[in-house]
């Protein structure tokens, strides 16, 4: 019994000494756009294994992160859902100039939780017969703006607008569709895509020519300047291994 107790106390000390042992292990705080949640979890796990650094991830809406960063949030890196926010942060002195790059190009999908509901040409949009179509708030989310662009191009805005239910971000939009409360909706392909196919339900992957590209930019924030883990993570995001993960979730690059 006594013996076990000693082990119990020894364990944390042992762990602490191991962590302290890896001399340049740093921690990086990353603000991640909601649509990039799934791939980033994988990438961060690989990154931690490969580098010994630790990546602490926060997921949320890019606009919220912008407000938080301007008000002193302790993030080192922002992986935004657009390219405007990182550019704005850099211009305002909250981002390190020259550190911006596009880490993924988002793809839009018209998706339903029901198998066979959405045909692969998006003809269901013209056919109608649904009461709710979910999209992210076009004012706040690039995926929402792209969805509006697509519907406008199809000449269906007037018909569909009364059926809109808007999520505050793409994660909430996905929630509306996946619970079946909205029969279908425009979500990020990364949310319903894994290993190069839809995880469930049915969908129409919107051709990228139908909307302006959803460029998602990363930026090193002023707080993260000089943080070796932050630099390493940005480097890792551009590696072939990370790119493979990003592509497998249905992003272009």
């Amino acid at each position: 019994m006594k013996c076990k107790l000693i082990h119990l106390f020894a364990l944390p000390i042992l762990l602490a000494s191991v962590t302290a042992g890896s001399a340049n292990a740093d921690e990086v705080q990353v603000a991640v756009a909601a649509n990039f949640t799934a791939p980033m979890k994988l990438i961060a796990a690989d990154f931690e294994k490969a580098s010994g650094h630790k990546a602490a991830l926060s997921f949320g809406a890019t606009g919220k992160f912008y407000a938080q960063i301007r008000n002193g949030a302790p993030f080192d890196i922002l992986l935004a859902a657009d390219d405007e926010t990182p550019a704005k942060l850099e211009k305002e002195g909250f981002g390190v100039s020259g550190s911006r790059f596009t880490y993924a190009i988002g793809k839009l999908v018209l998706w339903s939780a029901r198998p066979g509901y959405v045909d692969d040409q998006g003809g269901v949009l013209k056919k109608g017969g649904f009461t709710h179509i979910a999209l992210a708030n076009p004012k706040l989310a690039p995926y929402g703006a792209a969805a509006v662009e697509v519907m406008t191009k199809l000449g269906l805005m007037g018909v569909l607008e009364p059926k809109f239910v808007q999520g505050e971000n793409i994660a909430q939009t996905y929630q509306f569709v996946s619970t079946g409360n909205a029969e279908l909706g425009f979500v990020a392909l990364s949310q319903v895509y894994e290993d190069d196919k839809l995880r469930s339900g049915s969908g129409w992957i919107v051709p990228s020519a139908m909307h302006a590209p959803i460029r998602q930019d990363a930026v090193l924030l002023t707080k993260g300047k000089g943080n070796t883990a932050a630099a390493a993570l940005l480097q890792y995001l551009r590696s072939d291994k990370a790119k493979a993960v990003i592509r497998a979730y249905g992003y272009d690059l």
């Binding site: 606009g63 929630q175 409360n181 909205a182």
Partner: protein, 224 residues
């Protein structure tokens, strides 16, 4: 200045809070009466259920309501069987959500007021051959008036301040589910800080005024 869509959100919020408060007074009064009078073992269970929204995050309430009111949920099955369709993304869906969310703020003050009356006035009324219903109208209600006042104000104000539940089940539809708190959130996210300030300041002023009125005029708040 608040825009048209801001005014729409304010009007919607007031409508939601009014409907919710009236319904809650109707539903909450019998529950409060039962809780104040019963000796049943179930009192603890019902009391705990009523108080649950005080401790639960609104996102939890909203998430489960979204599932329950959806096409595969029990409430969804029920409303569809009644031919009402589904509740999420509708005004009445928000009303149902708000009723859950504001329940403790209405039931508890009324229950406290009922409990404070005690047995004696009821017994006296009974010896004067008042029917239980008459007793309730002419004795209990007047004596419990401060409790009802607190319940009305708190239920109303708490519904006005609701955010998480609406976010989860609302769908952000102008004039139907986009209430003030969501509108402010949208303004902040869209970096429209001036507009956000306008609405937020109105909310702060409103909340303070409501609570000030409550504390100044409600007799329960004063020492006799």
């Amino acid at each position: 200045m608040p825009s048209d869509s801001d005014l729409g959100a304010i009007w919607l919020t007031l409508r939601l809070a009014t409907v919710t408060t009236l319904l809650l007074l109707l539903i909450g009064t019998p529950i409060a009466w039962w809780l104040a009078r019963t000796r049943s073992w179930a009192k603890g269970v019902v009391g705990a259920l009523v108080a649950l929204p005080i401790v639960l995050p609104p996102s939890v309430i909203g998430f489960y309501l979204l599932l329950a009111m959806g096409p595969n949920g029990p409430i969804g099955h029920f409303t569809q069987a009644l031919g009402l369709g589904m509740l999420p993304f509708t005004f009445w869906g928000l009303v149902v959500g708000s009723i859950f969310y504001s329940m403790p703020f209405v039931v508890q003050p009324i229950q406290n007021a009922f409990e404070a009356i005690g047995e004696r006035p009821l017994e006296v009324a009974a010896t004067l051959r008042a029917s239980p219903f008459d007793t309730f109208l002419s004795v209990v209600l007047p004596l419990a008036k401060p409790g009802f006042l607190t319940a009305t104000v708190l239920g109303f104000a708490h519904t006005v301040g609701e955010f998480g539940v609406v976010l989860m089940i609302g769908g952000n539809i102008p004039d139907t589910t986009r209430v003030v708190s969501v509108q402010i959130y949208d303004h902040v996210e869209a970096l429209e800080y001036t507009e956000a300030h306008w609405l937020a300041a109105i909310m702060v002023a409103f909340s303070f005024a409501v609570l000030l009125l409550l504390y100044l005029f409600n007799p329960t708040g004063r020492r006799k």
